[in-house]
């Protein structure tokens, strides 16, 4: 094979432009690929079976959301944030609404905060279920995905009864909630939470102790804690590398400081640990939901902020613990009804940077597992 330099199309690339040896080839995965979970293109430099370099090409789903935000009022922009991490729309909404509330200097009333917590935790469970199904499917376990979707269906039914939509819910409003909880909300959530523990046991029976699963995920895609912090990785990926960091405990928002729950961490930072962390997170979310549903305070669901929002000039950065990591909103207001700049810190985008670190030295068959384990949503990566 002739030696040549890699010429990346946009002139810069993450892969060091070394001369291709006789055995190295570049393999292109995607953007249309059943396992890249969206329109992600991954260029892998392979030496035989081993990955020696990689480059993620993104932007196939870029819709200019942040630019659109400059021309929408604060309330008008709220539905757009759902479409970024479309798998966990409620969390996006929570982050944005709380950020704007911070900018306005108000807070949602207690009842709204508790209902927001319940819905956000349900959304976290739903997001993790949607992560687990396709991740297991990529590794070859054909059955868990159907069980996960069965449970996710229950949560989406609750959302539909609450706000009319299953996926892009726009469940929260700036200042609180628009809709009261429907009759039977507490019973539905309680019934779901009571059944859910057994269901998680079902998934664990199929996967956790299974030799093949352990063999495919242990030692694959290791990310050390220093690397994780250096790359700015957050969320379950960080917690699986040993760091006990959760924004719900570190900088509590909504009603998280009122409940008792644990932050799951694991020491090694391989795919198996990330799997265990997310399974435990589902159980902890259920715990929060059960505690929250016991006493939802009564009262108004909307703060008194008026219909036209003109926050005083200033800037705010507010972050929440989305299912995928730290979701941050940096909003700059210039005193008008439209924000001057809305910048989203998407967890998937930052976490994806760790892909190269994790993939080096892995086998080609592991790349699919590694992409799955970071839990990315391209809507968030590209915005």
């Amino acid at each position: 094979m002739s030696e040549s330099r890699i010429n990346a199309s946009n002139g810069s690339s993450n892969v060091t432009t070394t001369v291709l040896g006789a055995d190295e080839i570049i393999l292109n995965m995607g953007p249309q690929h059943p396992s890249t979970h969206g329109v992600l293109r991954v260029k892998l430099k392979l030496d035989g079976e081993r990955v020696v370099g990689s480059e993620c090409v993104i932007g196939y789903l870029h819709r200019g959301v942040e630019k659109i935000a400059e021309h929408r009022s604060y309330q008008q922009f709220a539905p757009y944030v759902d479409r970024m991490d479309y798998v966990a729309a409620v969390s996006n909404g929570l982050g944005y609404c709380e950020a704007v509330e911070k900018l306005l200097g108000t807070e949602a009333p207690p009842r709204a905060r508790v209902v927001r917590t319940i819905l956000t935790e349900l959304q976290r469970i739903a997001s993790h279920l949607l992560w687990l199904g396709p991740h297991a499917l990529d590794i070859g376990a054909l059955t868990p995905v159907f069980y996960c979707f069965r449970e996710r269906e229950e949560i989406l039914k609750i959302f539909e009864k609450y706000c009319g939509a299953r996926l892009t819910t726009h469940a929260f409003r700036i200042g609180g909630l628009q809709y009261e909880t429907y009759d039977g909300f507490e019973q539905d959530v309680k019934r779901f939470c009571e059944d859910f523990d057994k269901k998680v046991d079902e998934y664990e029976t199929l996967l956790t102790e299974n030799r093949i699963w352990v063999g495919r995920t242990k030692g694959v895609g290791i990310l050390s804690a220093q690397d994780a912090i250096a790359l700015g990785v957050t969320g379950p990926v960080l917690r699986a590398s040993g760091m006990k960091w959760d924004i719900r405990k570190a900088m509590p928002y909504a009603a998280y400081d009122q409940y008792e729950w644990e932050i799951p961490t694991r020491p090694t930072g391989d795919t198996y640990d990330r799997y265990l962390v997310r399974m435990e997170e589902m159980r902890q979310s259920r715990r929060i939901c059960l505690q929250a549903i016991e006493n939802i305070p009564s009262g108004p669901i909307m703060a008194r902020i008026g219909k036209v929002l003109k926050p005083p000039p200033g800037e705010v950065y507010h972050s929440i613990e989305a299912p995928k990591g730290e979701l941050g909103y940096y909003i700059v207001s210039d005193g008008t009804t439209q924000a001057y700049r809305t910048r989203v810190r998407p967890p998937s985008f930052i976490n994806l940077q760790a892909f190269d670190k994790m993939a080096r030295g892995a086998l080609v068959a592991d790349v699919v597992a590694i992409i799955g384990t970071i839990d990315i949503v391209l809507g968030e990566v590209d915005r």
């Binding site: 070859g140 069980y147 063999g215 495919r216 895609g221 030295g361």
Partner: protein, 442 residues
């Protein structure tokens, strides 16, 4: 009939007839095994499976076959036309050829070779060419690599499976399939109870040989490297698919013959008769089973939502009743017919049980990565199979020479030794994948 057919070809009539029946029925059987797989998969995944085409999806295989037949036949431009045509045909032919030596019953066997088992193994090893040539003919680097990997996997696990068969063979003392079943009758025990470890090794080996999960990395869709089947569409792909499922039935048939007693009913030597008639009690089992199935269908029929489904359910129940009657009627028929029909029933029941195990395993476990697969084959299964042969052989010789009259004792001792060896080897076979180190060679 003897005066109609000239004596020189008399010996060939019945085998040719059986052969025609097998070749005609096999595609249908393979198609319905596909439907069975989809229904079982759906059941395990909390859903229903094909329901639309025909009642409960019973006509689905026919619809699939029709669709594949009328699809456009695409041949890649630079593909090797001769091999592109030849490869799927090879795959199916080898799968069908293996049926020549399989005993579906004491009567229904196309050819009772006295090296029957070895013949089937030989034909299975020819099936590799269908894969390798298919990958080559697609003129794609990745198809070729996938095909070669698949072939390497097949060869490795064939060795282990063959050695496992040897242990059962030593108990039978003959390579002829008929004699093997006869030996199980004579010894009064199915060989799976004497060499369960051998059966287990054969089970794992046969799953890998038919490229089924958890060993189906070469043909998994979510993997990067394309498999050998990617360039084939329409009827050619149907042939590959048919070959794969026919192969599944072949390995199930081998396992059934060698380990599960072939066409023998459970407790074949238990000869209690029914009220002084010549009917053996246990021979009524098929009748009872079919009656139970019919009762279940009739119970389900009024509960179906749609009229046509009610009728069809009732018809299926009626079919079960007819089969029950047939089974009972065969008890009064001359020996050959009775043995033939009941033998075929038990044989098929065991084959389907084995295939059900295949399906069950496919939908429960994730997939092995290729290097883990090869490691499992070479460092766990083959050593285990070798030790199995030695231990079983030693036990047989000791039994013969030292007059050990307790076959069960020897079976237990053998199994205990093998489990110990297996536990030791298991450390080797499941070493975790090396952590991500740059610069480590393959």
């Amino acid at each position: 009939m003897n005066h109609v057919i000239p004596p020189s070809i008399q010996a060939y009539v019945l085998p040719v007839l059986y052969g025609v029946v097998v070749v005609a029925l096999l595609p249908l059987l393979a198609g319905y095994i596909v439907l069975l797989e989809r229904k079982v998969m759906a059941d395990m995944q909390a859903r229903l499976g094909p329901m639309r085409v025909g009642p409960h999806g019973l006509l689905q295989p026919i619809a699939d076959a029709l669709k594949l037949l009328i699809k456009e036949d695409i041949v890649p431009e630079k593909a090797d036309r001769f091999l592109f045509w030849c490869a799927p045909v090879l795959s199916v032919t080898m799968a069908l050829l293996a049926y020549a030596a399989i005993p579906f019953g004491p009567v229904f066997q196309i050819a009772d070779l006295n090296v029957g088992l070895l013949f089937i193994l030989a034909i299975s090893s020819l099936g590799i060419y269908g894969i390798v040539l298919g990958g080559w003919a697609s003129n794609s680097h990745y198809s070729l690599l996938g095909a070669l990997r698949s072939a390497a996997q097949l060869v490795s696990y064939e060795t282990a499976a063959g050695l496992a068969l040897v242990s059962g063979l030593m108990l039978a003392g003959s390579l002829s399939m008929k004699d093997i079943v006869q030996a199980q009758y004579d010894q009064g025990v199915w060989f799976v109870f004497v060499v369960p470890v051998g059966f287990f090794i054969y089970l794992v080996g046969s799953i890998a040989e038919t490229n089924r999960a958890p060993f189906d990395l070469p043909e998994a869709e979510s993997e990067l490297v394309a498999g050998y089947m990617t360039e084939y569409s329409g009827f050619r792909w149907a042939l590959y698919f048919l070959g794969e499922y026919a192969n599944m039935v072949v390995v199930a048939a081998i396992a059934t013959t060698l380990f599960l007693g072939g066409w023998l009913r459970p407790f074949a030597r238990y000869q209690d008769h029914l009220f002084g008639t010549s009917i053996e009690l246990l021979d009524l089992l098929p009748t009872i089973l079919f009656l139970a199935a019919a009762a279940y269908c009739f119970w389900l029929a009024p509960r179906q939502p749609v009229q046509i489904q009610k009728i069809v359910m009732a018809l299926v129940g009626g079919l079960c009743l007819v089969l029950a009657a047939g089974m009972t009627g065969a008890l009064f028929a001359p020996d050959a017919v009775r043995l033939g029909i009941h033998g075929a029933f038990w044989f098929l029941a065991k084959v389907f049980a084995y295939i059900y195990a295949f399906l069950w395993i496919r939908f429960t476990f994730p997939r092995y990565r290729f290097d883990q697969l090869m490691r499992l084959g070479w460092r766990f299964l083959i050593p285990l199979a070798l030790v199995n042969v030695i231990v079983v052989g030693t036990t047989i010789v000791l039994q013969q020479n030292w007059e050990w009259r307790h076959p069960m004792l020897s079976a237990i001792v053998t199994t205990a030794i093998m489990l110990g060896v297996a536990a030791f080897l298991a450390r080797e076979g499941s070493a975790p994948s090396e952590p991500a180190e740059v610069g480590e060679g393959n």
